[in-house]
Symmetry: C2
Subunit: 162 residues, 2 copies
């Protein structure tokens, strides 16, 4: 496998660059000045209210260091609010502002369209297979990343199945 174009790592890097370009192509015309990472943070904060930065990082597989800057910028834009946790003074609890909520509503359709564009080379069946295999490959190697995905602890741990 000395051929670069046959290496998964190389293809993934290229595809990620394309994903970012497609995101901006869809989102920038809205004039919202959001990046893919910033969108992911906003989207997650709508579902999980009042979580600290470390938890947020785990939910989206960010590096803890990276998220400091991301939240800095989202705060500067007034889209999120960051304050010291009342239960742990080390932690910073992040939450969406009303502006953040509105921005998320506006950007959502564009982001969904971007996902469609990303997969435009594949037919419906291929898209499904691709997403399944990508999910499977990612889950199997999740722990090899410095910033693994860390789901919230589920209240009821299902025995046997994980």
């Amino acid at each position: 496998m000395t051929e670069l174009k046959q290496m998964p790592g190389h293809l993934i890097r290229r595809y990620q660059q394309i994903a970012v370009a497609v995101f901006h192509r869809q989102v920038d015309p809205l004039g919202l000045d959001l990046t893919p990472v910033q969108f992911a943070a906003l989207n997650t904060l709508r579902v999980h209210k009042d979580i600290d930065q470390a938890t947020l990082a785990g939910l989206i597989a960010y590096d803890r260091t990276t998220i400091t800057g991301v939240i800095d910028r989202l705060t500067a834009k007034g889209l999120v609010d960051r304050k010291i946790s009342p239960t742990d003074r080390r932690a910073r609890v992040v939450s969406l502002t009303a502006e953040g909520e509105a921005a998320l509503d506006r950007v959502m359709p564009a982001v969904e369209e971007a996902q469609t564009v990303m997969l435009q080379g594949l037919d419906a069946r291929e898209q499904q297979v691709f997403m399944e295999l990508l999910t499977k490959a990612t889950e199997a190697t999740n722990d090899l990343s410095r910033a693994p995905l860390i789901p919230l602890a589920t209240p009821e741990p299902t025995e046997g199945a994980e």
Copy 2:
């Protein structure tokens, strides 16, 4: 598709981060101080001798701006040589040094192992399907990137095809 984990863009970003981590896990112990992008450049320069930076960028789908820094660092390490093109004084012709060649030889097995690790969650059949679909999806969206893959002009242009 409001679920982040179902968005191809999000999964691709995660998988790319994993790819980088796996690369370093395999390569760093060799003490070579190479990044995935630097490896791709070296690997391509072995196949294509004496090409300028713009051509190299096209062959690996780099941004022209990015490659300036990459070649800077590879030059500083003594792995590549950069000189003004004898036929076009705007262009810089890049070539592997003997040290670059040796580094590439040393790092190659580690990089190949990294590709295997990346795909460890998939069986042989799934790996093949995944790579095919990833290649197809990437090719279909190549032109949406600021840094598309630009193959070398083939000597014989196939008629009919665009």
